[in-house]
Amino acid sequence: MSASFSPGGLLRRPEAGAALGLIAVLVFFAIFGGLTFLKPAGMASWLNVAANLGVIAIPLGLLMIAGELDISVGAMVPFGAMTVAVISGHYGLPIWLGVAVALSFGVIVGLVNGVLVVKTAVPSLIVTLGSLFAVQGIVLGLTVLITKSTSVALTVEGPAKALFGDFVLGGQLQVMVLWWLGLSALYIFFVHVSPFGNWIFAMGGDKVSARNAGIPTDRLTIILFVLSATSAAFVGMCQAILYNSAQVAGGQSFIFNAIISVVVGGVLLTGGFGSVVGIFFGTITFAIVTQGIYYTDFDRNWSSLIIGVLLLGAVLMNNTFRKMALSATTKKKGAKV
């Protein structure tokens, strides 16, 4: 969080390790993936992936900085997609209604998660695991009930299409990339520039002390859960509009992918430390690693191995840096999960 700009201070910032990890994988794939990987079309390929993941990863990362976790995003993506597809595709109602309902379902699930976490002592991992299953069940059950199918088509035109699900800038980049950049800028403002960010870090550092210091921890926790669930629903909705269709499906890969991006981005799993820029870099790193494989000549069967090793390497690198940054911080003990 320190905002000093000395070279030493720069290295001590949470995003330093993430930036180095990003450079490392860029070099790796520039060598093994060749030129196409760095051409505009190639860049669009991993930017698009990063954008969809990043819009979810940043609020999830903020939750993790605040010491919580949200697994239910995995189910919110298909929920958002299916909601808009059923309302505006199956029933043919106005797209804006579909968008509004999809987002408000995000808000509702986020509220339920947040209130359950705040009011009960159940850890958020378990609460959101429960809502993951529950929402999966709702999506499958309702969709089949309403449409007798698990795949619903949707055609959107006009401003809604341009705003949520189209390609921009030469037809390579999804409009989601712009959302991602814009939202990232907003998050950077609120987390690192406005005073609210301080509250999130304080909460993650020591929730009791944060409350004693006058921070409305309960309200903030609920807001963060609403943010992550709604962002996931938003991504699902945009995907449905972009791809003209929505499927009922797990969406579980978003969970692990987002968590990995956040951790590669330098957020401490135990809370209290991290940065939006770091998460941003971490998301790009993850997208490059997973997409870059396609540009190499490695046998596809080994891609999981390469991803696993690269990610572990990135986190290790990141950790070495964090250690350097906090070399004097030794008394902080805590559950290391």
Partner: protein, 272 residues
């Protein structure tokens, strides 16, 4: 006689089936240091948590300037001018000194939703406040709190409370982990706050510290106010006995000192 700033009237507190505080009536006046004394588990921390909005009383009333008030959250109490250093926690190891100092009350510039955290000002104020506490080594407000020693962190927390303590300053065992020098600094700060007309509530287990700053003493024994007296009304020995929960400490102290004397400061031969 000045009117009390903060007063508890017949406050009770229980956690589920456990009664922790019984019918507490206490008041603190501006420019006065109230020393809250008592054995481990007597309920001192619980009492001041009620005053600072962390806990709600099970029954009874809190009055400020003679008006009944309630502090549903610590924020409300802070806004009423009550500033507390709790016994545990209070600083954030992974945050910078400036940010940690201003947690929850960040200085900003700009307007509306675009208020911007004023890092420069926060750091400058925080560093100055800490240096005023005698910790002159700290000069960079961007340093992480985790890099400070326990005593330095404690001083930071106290500096924070003093800075925001518009009217009432509550310190829960602020000197427990501190070295002699740091503890003396804290005592000086308490006196300084008193001089500025704040009301101070000071919890300690060290009679010397209590006697050095206290104007008014309240002793809790098993959750009830067992004694409430002014400076000079009781001797050090009487206060010590009260702090020990009513036990006669004289005999215990005599025992230890007697032992030392009988061996003339030298250890006995090792036991077989």
């Amino acid at each position: 006689m000045t009117a009390p700033i903060l007063a508890l009237r017949g406050v009770n507190k229980s956690f589920g089936p456990i009664d922790v505080l019984h019918d507490i009536t206490l008041e603190v006046k501006p420019g006065e240091v109230l020393c809250l004394l008592g054995d481990n588990g007597a309920g001192k921390s619980t009492l001041i948590k009620i005053m600072s909005g962390v806990h709600q009383p099970s029954s009874g009333m809190i009055e400020m300037d003679g008006q009944p008030v309630s502090f549903p959250t610590p924020r409300v109490a802070a806004e009423a001018g009550i500033s507390t250093v709790h016994q545990f926690g209070g600083t954030f190891p992974l945050m910078s000194i400036g940010r940690s100092f201003f947690v929850g009350v960040e200085p900003t510039w700009g307007w509306g939703p675009f208020r911007v955290y004023d890092r420069k000002r926060a750091n400058a104020i925080a560093v100055k406040a800490v240096q005023d506490m005698g910790i002159t080594r700290i000069s960079d407000g961007d340093r992480l709190v985790g890099g400070l020693s326990g005593g330095e962190r404690q001083s930071l927390a106290i500096a924070r409370a003093v800075h925001f303590g518009a009217r009432v300053l509550i310190l829960d065992e602020p000197t427990a982990a501190l070295g002699v020098k740091q503890a003396t600094h804290v005592l000086r700060i308490v006196n300084e706050a008193k001089r500025r007309g704040l009301a101070v509530i000071f919890i300690t287990h060290q009679v010397m510290h209590a006697m050095a700053v206290g104007d008014h003493f309240a002793v809790l024994i098993r959750g009830a106010v067992a004694a409430d007296f002014k400076k000079g009304e009781k001797t050090r020995e009487e206060i010590t006995d009260l702090m020990a929960g009513g036990a006669s400490m004289a005999s215990l102290e005599a025992e230890i000192e007697g032992f030392m004397a009988s061996h003339d400061g030298h250890p006995p031969p090792p036991a077989e």
